[in-house]
């Protein structure tokens, strides 16, 4: 690791390693830095996330990819002692603006977590939760949403006969797909996935990946993954982060076949560490 030295400061002007052509950006990150207390976790990150594509964040543990992901829906607000500089624009609006409604932001940018976290409620109530907090409570409004979301998450056929049983009785992979159904039930524009398959077996992982490819027709997906095969299989764009900095960002094909930066090449070829 020593041979790379500290990450270089972002050079002025467009860097070919960092500025892929993105037609319709939905999220624009500009000079974003983040500190946990006094420890700097993200260093001046600038990037654009394309609409209705899958963008993957890769990098070694502790490189800040999850932290960056959690900036998009301001989940870092829940942690004490976090300080953020720079801006993120979601559909043109600065999400860190004091007048930004965090709850509205989060219903526009859904999230699926590393460890599946269904609520200790029935399957039906898990999916309906987002609608209920938005004030939709009538059964005849909820029923179609629940069915549509569960179908969208490829879970409907497995659970349609036990919608009112506890969600905690599902298998790990089913729980994770339920969390995806829960996230898409409120029709967000973006779905953030934080290592959604790291706790799943290969069969369940394949199902989720298939699902992601289907979902990208309707949603913008941003996925954090440790698994480079996964990133190359499903994503359209890939960003490589290292020590809190964005090292390289580009179309997945280009980045995996033709990495510009030496660090990227070392990491994706497994020569890393």
């Amino acid at each position: 690791m020593e041979k790379w030295g500290p990450p270089a400061a972002v050079a002025p002007g467009p860097d070919p390693a960092l500025s892929p052509e993105i037609e319709r950006p939905i999220l624009i990150v500009d000079a974003l830095s983040l500190w946990y207390g006094r420890a700097r976790a993200l260093t001046s990150i600038s990037m654009s996330i394309p609409e209705k594509k899958i963008t993957a964040f890769i990098g070694p543990s502790g490189c800040g990819k999850s932290t960056l992901l959690r900036c998009f829906n301001r989940m870092n607000d829940l942690i004490d002692g976090v300080r953020i500089e720079g801006t993120i624009r979601f559909e043109g609006q600065d999400i860190f603006h004091p007048k930004m409604d965090v709850n509205a932001l989060r219903s526009g940018i859904g999230m699926v977590f590393q460890k599946s976290n269904p609520f200790p409620k029935s399957i039906y109530e898990n999916v309906a939760f987002g609608c209920r907090i938005q004030g939709v409570n009538r059964k005849r409004d909820l029923d179609p949403v629940v069915e549509k979301s569960l179908r969208g998450a490829a879970l409907w056929d497995e659970v349609k006969d036990r919608l009112h049983e506890s969600a905690l009785g599902l298998s790990g992979g089913q729980q994770q797909r339920l969390c995806i159904a829960r996230a898409i039930a409120i029709e967000p524009d973006v779905v953030l996935l934080d290592e959604p398959c790291s706790a799943l077996d290969p069969v369940a992982t394949a199902k989720i990946e298939e699902l992601m490819l289907e979902l990208k027709n309707r949603y913008t997906l941003v996925i954090v993954t440790h698994n480079m095969q996964q990133a190359s299989r499903v994503s359209d764009f890939t960003a490589f982060l290292y020590l809190g900095s964005l090292v390289e960002y580009g179309e997945t094909q280009r980045l995996f076949l033709n990495p510009v930066k030496r660090q990227t090449e070392d990491y994706i070829t497994g020569r890393f560490g």
């Binding site: 829906n73 989940m75 829940l78 709850n103 509205a104 932001l105 989060r106 219903s107 859904g110 999230m111 977590f113 460890k115 976290n117 269904p118 609520f119 200790p120 409620k121 939760f129 987002g130 209920r132 907090i133 938005q134 506890s166 905690l168 009785g169 599902l170 298998s171 790990g172 729980q175 969390c179 829960r182 996230a183 409120i186």
Partner: protein, 526 residues
């Protein structure tokens, strides 16, 4: 494998020590329960009446209470009005003969306890209806049923009619105090006078009925030949235990058990039932739960979910835990000083000022007792709720936030339901503690004998200011404060058994509710 390592021994010894200690604990509890079950359960089983003839010619008729092998026997002879004592020791060497006469009759009376003897005659007014033991025994049941009916009518009249008139008079008296206008006063006085005359008529009617109850008498002869006239209206039950078969005995047992569970106490609690005490205990525990749940759960929510987890919160947590160790009588004194005198006194001054100086809420009552116990048990609920909240995974909260839920929605709709089993555990512990607590209640509203239940047919139906009876205090009162301790010993066992049964039933109800919730949110496969 034959050579055992020397280091094996301490481990095995410890295993035996821990296992043995557990077994000892279980044995102690099982022994206690068995003692209560045997003594309490047999309290109502009919025993045979023995007729002892002593060498000096005296005759003793009674139930054998206990026998000291080879020495003497304790006989429950009854007939307190004749002999002055219920029990008598008889030396075995004194006894000339023992008999179990079929005609020996046991009367359970409203007053003076049991009577043991032989029926002689049955009289209605001046005329003798039946003579001789068998004739009397044949004629008695019909008359007994008639008299019981009359006695019940009398009691109903006393409670509802007289009580109703008294209440109306009291309402008028308070109205008179409140509105001193001339026209009103004369109207009120008129109405009061009318009620007063109605009251007097009722009292006269009741007196006549009471007299009628006493006119019919049963003449009994005790073992020594003394005759005694006993009003049939004062007899609860007449049995010939020596002539009874197994089925009849079981019937009598069940009938006595029913009386014990469902009737009011008599003879300063030494006889009759303990229904008011059961009712008071259960109702007080439920009132306590209603008070302690919001108090404890909201406090724990703030401590765990909202407060900054710093030194202050840690100090508060320690203080709450220590609160559980404060002697309960201290809470009782606080309840008396704060709830009864300050809160109750203020309520009286504000809403019941016309009744003063007679206190309404400014004296001990079931509400104040429940609130005092709620204060006593709040640490239990706080601690259990905090544990329940802490056990809700962080991921679940984040999941709710990520769907756009506010802190309130997350706490209310996700965290609290997930913590519900833990919260209910706290409630179960609190109820168990409250049901067994006696000391603080003695000064905030528990009484030896409550004239009325806290719930009845008079508006507003729920009388939270009323005093109440309690099983725990009943045990103490009957066992150690009654004039006839020896005779009430079985009742003490039975009451203790019942208290344990009540606590168990209440707990089982709460536990099944908790398990239902657990099943609903089953956390099986993850």
């Amino acid at each position: 494998m034959n050579a055992r390592r020397p280091s094996d021994f301490p481990g095995r010894a410890l295993t035996w020590l821990t296992g043995g200690t557990l077994a000892l604990n279980l044995l102690l509890i099982a022994g206690l329960l068995a003692l209560l079950a045997v003594n309490g359960g047999s309290a109502f089983w009919p025993r045979e009446l023995w007729l002892f003839t002593l060498k000096d010619g005296t005759k003793v008729l009674g139930e054998i209470e206990r026998e000291e092998e080879g020495h003497r026997v304790q006989v429950e002879v009854g007939n307190r009005d004749l002999t002055g004592a219920d029990f008598r020791w008889v030396d075995l060497s004194e006894i000339a003969s023992r008999l179990r006469p079929n005609q020996a009759t046991l009367l359970e009376r409203l007053e003076w306890g049991n009577f043991h003897g032989f029926p002689v005659a049955l009289r209605r007014g001046e005329t003798t209806v039946a003579e001789g033991p068998e004739a009397v025994w044949a004629a008695l049941p019909q008359l007994l049923a008639l008299k019981r009916e009359e006695a019940e009518t009398l009691e109903r009249l006393e409670k509802s009619e007289i009580g109703g008139v008294n209440r109306e008079i009291e309402v008028l008296r308070l109205e008179r105090k409140r509105r001193p206008r001339e026209a009103e006063i004369s109207r009120i006085d008129r109405e009061t006078a009318a009620l007063q005359s109605r009251y007097e008529a009722l009292v006269a009617d009741l007196d006549a009925r009471r007299q009628a109850l006493l006119t019919d008498t049963l003449v009994m002869r005790d073992a020594s030949g003394t005759e005694k006239e006993i009003p049939v209206g004062g007899i609860v039950r007449a049995v010939r235990p020596n002539a009874m078969g197994g089925g009849e005995k079981l019937g009598l047992y069940l009938s006595r058990l029913r009386e014990f569970l469902l009737d009011d106490p008599r003879e300063s609690n030494t006889e009759g039932g303990i229904f008011p005490a059961i009712f008071g205990t259960v109702m007080m525990v439920f009132l306590m739960s209603f008070a302690v749940m919001p108090l404890g759960v909201l406090a724990a929510l703030y401590l765990r979910e909202y407060a900054h987890q710093g030194t202050v919160v840690r100090a508060v947590r320690i203080a709450v835990n220590n609160l559980a160790g404060v002697p309960s009588i201290v809470f009782g004194v606080f309840g008396l000083g704060f709830f009864v005198y300050v809160v109750g006194g203020s309520i009286d001054r504000l809403f019941f000022s016309e009744a003063l100086p007679t206190p309404t809420f400014g004296t001990g009552g079931i509400l104040w007792a429940a609130l005092t116990l709620a204060l006593l048990t709040v640490p239990v609920v706080v601690v259990a709720t905090e544990e329940g909240l802490a056990a809700v995974p962080r991921g679940v909260r984040e999941g709710a936030y990520a769907l756009g839920a506010t802190k309130l929605e997350t706490t209310w709709k996700v965290v609290l339901p997930a913590a519900a089993p833990g919260i209910l555990t706290g409630m179960i512990l609190a109820m168990a503690r409250a049901a067994g607590e006696v000391a603080p209640l003695m000064i905030v509203g528990m009484v030896k004998l409550a004239p009325a239940l806290p719930v009845d047919g008079q508006p507003p139906f729920l009388h939270l200011e009323r005093k109440f009876m309690h099983l725990g205090f009943h045990i103490y009162d009957v066992g150690f404060q009654s004039p006839n301790v020896e005779a009430t010993k079985p009742l003490v066992f039975a009451t203790a058994l019942l208290l344990i049964a009540v606590v168990t039933v209440v707990n089982l109800a709460a536990i099944s509710l908790r398990n239902h919730l657990r099943r609903k949110y089953a956390s099986s496969a993850v």
